[in-house]
Amino acid sequence: MQHDRIPLNLGDKACRVRFGVALIVILSIWSTVRPMEPMFSTSDLFPQEDSVFKYETRFDQVKKYLPADQIIGYSDDFLSRTQNAADAWVLARYALAPSVLQRGYVPKTKQISAHWSGLLLENLHDPKADPYLLSLFPSKYFESQSNAPAPNWLFPTNRLSLIRDFGHGVRLYKLEDR
């Protein structure tokens, strides 16, 4: 009499193949379904506006003042940053591309020096004026600061002449030669 059920015998090649296939199938579905957890736990499946788009609009006016073929000095007020988290420097570069920014007011290389514009862009953040900033940046960025420029990239205030204040903490300066 023949048996209808095939006993699980891992010594059998066909059985090992079935076991392997089942394992791969389970792993492939699990690896796809598992990251979907936030989909089911979020209360806001359809957010109204993206913070990055909002952040880009703060540079709309200053863009017209930035030369396309020269490099602009940059400073912001974020003293610390988290690895792989959006920060002002990354977002400013993204918003202002193809204008080239370089942190600080001193050209880093000879090539940069040759194309240095002498313009300095200051990018300060106030979450009270722009509440969306709190959803864009880690909250620790706003702790123990009062919108003071980062010391490492501090502009020499005695050599700056303000070209224009564009609001939302965005200011464009010209660095005066001595």
């Binding site: 296939v21 792993l27 492939s28 796809t32 990055v52 959006a86 990354v90 570069r93 993204y94």
Partner: protein, 232 residues
């Protein structure tokens, strides 16, 4: 209209990759032999060829002009002609070989189901992430799309590009070049293009581990791979 242009701008590189693969494929009896597997590989090949063309064009012309797209279409026509010629040659010289019974799409149902389920989950999750962050996450903003914004504009984009300090050589410029080419084709800078390109699997190397003659293994590879393709 924009959606149609985006589709064309993405499908042309894919078609280039597909036809290039058809020329290399050992079994050239039919363009559609191992179709799904070729489609998967053509993502890497297609965007690779297309972005390589972008850089050659930028070196020659300075920025992405309509001439680039004429070249792209000419390359597509040339590869189509070569693929057809190769197929004709194969049909006239090679003896008719009966196809292996296992290559007729007899992959176990379980694997097909796993592939379909993984694909649907990945697509749903991808759309969810896209809705949350249309500009993408950190890498998209700090690298891929930023670099594409330097390559896209007219004027002296390439020179400005050289001013940037390159700290991450592990982010190759093939994806930014593909995005920039699509933007240039549709004539505007939209986040939909990088989103569409991001939907395609970004690790085609995974497929190389799947023996092409074993359809089942290919399907497993694809389903595992779709799991990997969910954007980070």
């Amino acid at each position: 209209m924009t959606a149609f242009l985006i589709l064309v701008s993405v499908l042309v590189p894919l078609a280039l990759g597909f036809l290039f693969l058809c020329l290399l494929w050992p079994d050239s009896a039919s363009v559609f032999a191992d179709f799904l597997f070729k489609c998967c590989l053509s993502v890497g090949f297609g965007f690779g060829i297309s972005s390589g063309m972008v850089f050659v064009w930028l070196l020659l012309a300075g920025h992405l002009t309509p001439g680039f797209f004429v070249c792209q279409w000419l390359a597509l026509a040339g590869l189509s002609a070569l693929a057809l010629y190769r197929r004709k040659q194969h049909v006239s010289t090679a003896p008719v070989e009966p196809r292996h019974p296992s290559s007729g799409g007899n992959a176990p149902r379980l694997i097909r189901f796993a592939f379909a389920a993984a694909l649907l989950c990945a697509a749903a999750y991808f759309l969810f992430l896209l809705r949350l962050a249309p500009n993408g996450k950190y890498d998209a903003i700090a690298h891929w799309n930023l670099e594409a914004r330097f390559l896209y504009p007219g004027g002296d984009g390439l020179r400005q590009f050289s001013y940037m300090t390159w700290e991450h050589a592990d982010y190759p410029l093939l994806i930014p070049a593909s995005i920039a080419a699509s933007w240039a084709f549709i004539g505007t800078q939209t986040t939909i293009v990088p989103s569409v390109i991001a939907f395609f699997p970004d690790r085609p190397g995974a497929y190389f581990h799947c023996p092409s003659s074993r359809r089942a293994a290919g399907v497993i590879g694809r389903s595992v791979f779709i799991g990997n393709a969910v954007p980070h």
